[in-house]
Symmetry: C2
Subunit: 146 residues, 2 copies
DNA sequence: AAGTAATTGATACATGGTATCAATAATCTG
DNA sequence: CAGATTATTGATACCATGTATCAATTACTT
């Protein structure tokens, strides 16, 4: 599980409030994403799902990941082995660090980003409604192992 | 052409220095990207290319865009109509703003980002080697038109 | 100008993701 | 709780984007 993520129970509550049905497949997929140490592609999530539930359909998983993304419960990881992997979202922490060595994804405190956005709005005149920041490098652990 | 980009001549020089041959197709493609107001997908670039040079092959354009990306001459735009559009790169200015209304892409001064990265390195212990920040919203012009 | 090596274009192919639709499972209604 | 209703599921076929192959072409070298 990622260092600090929301709990599967909370995800289910979110899903429930969104008017969508909460099914066994959904619970399973939420669990899969919530407990993964690494960003997962939809294809990977499908393979994991089939281990415990072999008849799970591919399209179902694709649909579910899309829903989770639209609800903001998972977030797409850009620029790490393509752009088709996802990590659970933390509502408040928006800066994602990805270790290019071990692949772990890690949220960092986003307060500096908030300041940056504020500053950019002030100096550019643009109205900024959304942002997407990713940092890449070598995590503290991998630096020690090297 | 994007508000402030490097000139096609400079791109050709870069290509030349990289040991790659500089061909007519390359010149054409560099020109297409350098003069586009909007992020272009490879497919779009191919269509544009065929207008002035109908027998241009699809694979050629894909290969060339990949080279340009590897050389850092174009940069992938994430999260705006997928992740398969490109804009010319400015070496010093790394923060990209995209207007969700008119689609214009615009580089902003990246100095605040440099500070943010420095701060994140200091507090997290990770060694940050690369970053990718995009801001989305409504540009100053579109705000006036609304 | 001839030889060598990279680039090109056409085609076929692979991959990732989507549309369709009958079957199933979940909710609603009485 | 039984039946009606609606959303979800899984299988299949499909499409789009991008890649591998390879003969033909183009650009450099000498």
């Amino acid at each position: 599980m990622l260092s600090n993520t929301i709990k599967p129970e909370d995800w289910l509550a979110e899903l429930d409030e969104s008017g969508l049905r909460v099914t066994a497949v959904q619970e399973m997929l939420i669990d899969i994403f919530a407990h993964s140490e690494y960003p997962l592609s939809t294809e990977q999530a499908w393979h994991v799902a089939r281990q415990s539930r072999p008849k799970t359909g591919r399209a179902t998983v694709y649909r579910m990941v899309e829903k989770l993304e639209n609800l903001g419960l998972v977030r797409r990881v850009h620029g790490y082995q393509g752009c088709s992997r996802f990590v659970p979202t933390l509502p408040e922490l928006m800066m994602l660090f990805i270790c290019l060595d071990c692949g772990h994804a890690n949220y960092l405190d986003s307060q500096p980003l908030d300041h940056l956005i504020q500053h950019s709005e002030d100096t550019s005149g643009h109205h900024i409604t959304d942002s997407q920041l990713q940092l890449y490098g070598i995590c503290a652990t991998c630096q020690q192992d090297a």
